[in-house]
Amino acid sequence: MSTASLITTWKVRDVVPVPDQFPTSLRVLVVDDDPTCLIFLEKMLRNCSYDVTKCNRAETALLKLRENRNGFDIVISDVHMPDMDGFKLLEHIGLEMDLPVIMMSADDGKDVVMKGVTHGACDYLIKPVRIEALKNIWQHVVRKRKNEWKDLEQSGSVEEGDRQPKQSEDADYSSS
């Protein structure tokens, strides 16, 4: 009971490390079966100062993610791949690792983009991808973490309803 009440007194911004400047070394896993696109993406991401791992197969990507659960911050994946459809990969990642996933495709048809949205992609980029689109992918990582903390906060807020609105932090700490 005391842990939950401690959480409700913290503000989200105190806990989530929101960067003041452009965050470097974001660990990105990029998946695309097209070798030209893959090398292009890798270079652009490196130029954004991100830490890049590239994969040309969805199965390999999943293996890497499973082997190193906390090794990546975000995944960027093509939709059309020979061994596993990008949406299937997206589903697996959502269930197993819950990392933000950005889908990409040369296909800009509304139904494909919708499929991305309904399968849980946090963004959908149309190829050819420009470096400008990649510069800001860190926002998806921060947003996801912020939402996770908000969920934690809200699940603890059942306690808050019983409490007086204005309570000093000292009182909460001492009430364990």
Binding site: D33, P35, I39, F40, H80, A106, P128, R130, I131
Partner: protein
Amino acid sequence: MDVVNQLQRQFIDYSASLHREGFLDDQFTQLQKLQDDNSPDFVVEVASLFFEDCEKLINNMARALEQQQGVDFKQVDASVHQLKGSSSSIGAMRVKDVCIAFRSFCEAQNREGCLRCLQQVTHEYSLLKNKLQTLFRLQQQILAAGGSIPVVE
């Protein structure tokens, strides 16, 4: 006129003509901008990869279209889709445009149309390969003469 200046002028004019004639689009310029001291041969590397991939895909398409028993248009389309993707990422505009038409013929299951597109895509790919090799040769000459490659917007 200084040798380096002359070569640079040639390079700029040749680049401009490639863009004007539709062989390359702005995406190629993006590719050139990515080249830096960390990867000084980046453009040549990507182009080589692209040509390798192109050849492989064209062969796949030719094989699939040769099948007398029945053409697997889905298979052809998959290769064309990939070629469209890689050609657009390198800025190979004319190759990409043929791929767009090619896909429509695949969808319509039109073997004749597909074969015509295959011929066209092979032709455009060869043309582009020659043009880029000329461009890269010019680049090498500039560097050998002690100059730097001008950025063409």
